[in-house]
């Protein structure tokens, strides 16, 4: 009997916090650093008589996120009431666009197991309100034994976009790439900061297995993944769990399971979920987006990371690997492009940003937006190295000094005692070493004593002088080369 094989069929729902100043239905601030329950009002607290008022910017950020996922803006969408009783939901129902969303029908690409690009279809992005945050520990920080759970309504009414994929994903690796790519794109569009640590991006996955014997397991919804790692582990766990059931001839139940990150398992939800059809939200007339608005938002869309990376590769001859690093974060790409605009050689600038800038940022745990050297200044430094006024090593010394002391290029050069254009010391030794290394046969002749007239030595000295573009003192070169071949 042939061994059974299983193909995972995975769809992902991703909630992203849309980047706005106020909540989706009221004018309370979305500031996440505020004390608990300090941004609450009759609307987001669900007080009797209060009514929702849709935030213009939520719609716009939803459109931007949708366009970043190659979706189409829907001219007419609607809000519904989705009911469930839970203390995190002040009205006992969530206002959500559900199945009449503001943007629909998109896709983004991931690499399949063979490294080929594969489209993952995005069914839609719909707008909805977040629920309050629940803390299942005492307010004084005691974790265990507290008889109460604590509610912070600051999060109630935060604007969310829920992005629903088609079940086109076949592995946990594809799922993670999909999620990372999606995160990068919505960040590029300025639609969301999608900061996982701040709960601005959360994942649910629908996982089922297709068996080679024709059986197709029921869909299991896995909830509560808050990191890429959790998404990956939860899907892998679920695939293994379902495979085991199917191999044993069992049946996978359609259910909702919760990912327990600490234990690394999914467990069946103890709460019976009622699937109620949604009623139209009677307090919000249809959301109409006219062509003018769509055009305006389309014009706001920046170049997406994949397009940008291709441009770097094709137009600037930057290696793909470097291009992908530079375009991972839009601010980094912007920084790099500002360097180029300021006159830096693209390939050199790319390497500088890729190696030196990122190294310093990593060391300091900083973001590119916090970096103290302006792209124009970096461009100036790159140009001086490019023009040979500074050796590469000198350039890096200057760069480090500037980072450490927040100084100008000239101050750094002065402080480091570098004679600009005067190639000496280490820089000179480097050139000599590389010239010698490139001419092992000449070195061999000298060493073996065949170079009686010193012609070969002069030859090497000439090569070094040429390499330094005449910026080293001939006397020094002569001495240094003579020393180097000893």
């Amino acid at each position: 009997m042939a061994e059974l094989t299983f193909t995972p069929v995975i769809g992902i729902e991703i909630h992203i916090r849309l980047k706005t100043d106020t909540k989706i239905f009221c004018s309370c601030s979305t500031n996440t650093d505020a004390p608990a329950n300090s941004h609450i009002c009759p609307v987001c607290m669900g007080l009797p008589g209060s009514l929702p008022r849709l935030n213009h910017n939520v719609v716009e950020k939803g459109m931007l996120a949708g366009l970043a996922l190659n979706c189409t803006v829907q001219p007419r969408s609607l809000f519904f009431r989705k009911s469930y009783f839970y203390p995190d939901l002040p009205k006992g129902h969530q206002i959500s666009q559900c199945d009449l969303p503001v943007v629909a029908d998109g896709y983004i690409e991931v690499h399949d197991a063979n490294g080929n690009l594969k489209k993952i279809r995005v069914n839609h992005l719909h707008l909805e309100e977040d629920a309050a945050a629940m803390h299942h520990s005492a307010s004084d920080g005691r974790l265990e034994g507290a008889a109460t759970s604590y509610v912070d309504y600051n999060r109630a009414g935060m604007p969310l976009g829920e992005i629903v994929s088609e079940p086109d994903i076949s592995s946990s690796a594809e799922a993670v790439e999909y999620a990372m790519n999606l995160q990068r794109r919505v960040r590029y569009a300025g639609a969301s900061d999608a900061d996982l640590d701040k709960g601005m991006m959360r994942f649910d996955a629908n996982v089922s297995l297709k068996c080679s014997d024709g059986r197709w397991g029921r869909k299991v919804e896995v909830k509560n993944m808050n990191s890429f790692r959790a998404l990956e582990r939860a899907i892998e766990f679920e695939i293994k769990r379902q495979k085991k059931i199917l191999l044993a001839g069992g049946e996978v139940l359609q259910e909702t399971r919760h990912w327990n990150d600490a234990k690394g398992v999914t467990t069946a939800s103890r709460v019976k979920e009622f699937y109620r059809k949604f009623i139209v939200e009677p307090d919000l007339p249809p959301l109409i987006v006219n062509q003018e608005w769509i055009d305006k938002v389309t014009a706001m869309m920046p170049e997406m990371p994949d397009v940008k990376a291709n441009r770097y590769v094709n137009d600037m001859q930057i290696p793909r690997e470097v291009a992908e690093v530079l375009t991972d974060d839009k601010n980094l790409a912007d920084y790099f492009e500002a360097c180029v605009s300021a006159g830096a050689n693209p390939l050199r600038a790319a390497n500088w940003v890729r190696t030196e800038v990122l190294r310093v940022l990593n060391e300091r745990g900083q973001k590119i937006s916090e970096f103290t050297i302006s792209p124009e200044t970096l461009a100036g430094l790159v140009a001086r190295v490019d023009e040979g006024k500074l050796s590469t090593t000198q350039g890096k010394e200057v760069f480090d000094y500037m980072c450490a002391n927040n100084s100008s290029i000239d101050e750094a050069i002065k402080h480091l005692g570098i004679t600009e254009g005067g190639i000496a010391g280490n820089a000179l030794s480097e050139i000599i070493a590389s010239v010698i290394a490139a001419n092992p046969d000449v070195l061999e002749e000298i060493k073996s004593g065949k170079d009686k007239k010193g012609k070969k030595l002069k030859f090497l000295q000439g090569l070094v002088m040429k390499e330094t573009k005449g910026q080293a003192k001939p006397q020094e070169v002569a001495e240094a080369v003579a020393e180097a071949v000893k």
Partner: protein
Amino acid sequence: MELYELNLHFLLEGLKAKKFSASEIFQSCKRRIDECEGNIHAFITRTDDKEPQTENADGILAGIPTVLKDNLCTKGIRTTAASKILGNWRPPYDATAWKYLREAGAVLMGKVNMDEFAMGNTCGNSAFGPTYNPNDITRVPGGSSGGSAAAVSAGYVPFALGSDTGGSIRQPASFCGVQGLKPTYGMVSRYGLISYGSSLDQIGPFARTVRDLQIIMSVIAKHDPMDSSCFREKNPDFSHKDKVSIKGKRVALVKEFQDFTLDAPIADAMTRTRKILEDEGAIIVEVSLPVVARYAVACYYALAMSEAHTNLERYDGVRYGYTVTDASGVKEMFERVRSYGFGSEVKSRIIAGTCLTEPSRCDEYYVAATKVRTLIAQEFTRAFGETDFILQPVTPSLPSKIGEVDDDEMKGYETDLYTLPVNLAGLPGLSFFTGYAGNLPVGLQLIGPRWSDPELLNAGLILEAHLGTPKIANGGKN
């Protein structure tokens, strides 16, 4: 004559001419309330223990006393929707309609009784006990805004606000013998109105003359950004004009309603009113509303309950209102709060609404009802191509005796046939006084197309000139 007996526009004229002071009006109304409230029981919360200062001494309603149905939020003043579940809730904000009145100088005498969450048509379904009809205290004042109608009828205040989801202003206005307007949906901001059926609810005024209704509408019919269903064009013109005419206007009777039985005084009132309209030069026509006649009641209750059960999901005892502090789990807490807090009619409607929107029944009932509503709205649009107004009863019968309830609620619901189609189509409806049958007032209803509220009130003025205005009810003092 006592000041409390004066209608709103006479009070305003008298105040302007300094014939009396706002303080004298307040004292007169307060005495009247003290005198009758033991019989009428219109109040849930009185706020007239000390004379409130008007917020705007130059406002058009400066110093005029009023009461509000207790589903309108009043900042810092208990608001209950006549339900135990709200406990002693003091809203941290004012309903917009009340804010507009307050800013115009009106003073609040209190919050008045209603059917719990506006579900009912007798004002007997209140956690605070029933209100009695000031014209005959053995009878119901109607509902759900029974307290508002009774207060105006008994002379407590010259005007009041109520809300109308399926007839809750027009029916008690008719039962108590006052004028009541259910404005076009979207004409008055619903912000701060505790929702029942959000797509049907509308706030409106009660007064003893149509002219007084105009004054109140000119204050409350203003755009409010807090209500996304509120109109956004310029404010409508409710200013009073001395010369209005209905000459050449078409007034329709509904063909399908002609076969239905009416109490004799109501049928007589229809005949008399028709004659007055003809004498005034109006053309009487007939329109056909077959879908309305057969399906409006079912459609209305299906939608009202579907919306209501979601509007009532928020009452869980966590943030406000009645609660328990010793529950061992959240589910237990919610169950205990809601089971104790809601009355049985409200519970039945919550269960019905939940039932209709269950996935297995949603298409058959809730979605079907939203489609029937489309047909009903279309039917009215067609009808208003053929007529300017529709004349019809408010109810088929006069107010019933207190405690006389039909065991079959559905039969009770059928009596709302004349009022609730107006809410389904978002139309304005005026409940106007036509006279008395013995000691009981008889009202009728005039309906117009959407946004015709000013014209509707002008037509009401003409009818009022012939039919007269109601007298102050005896308030249970024989």
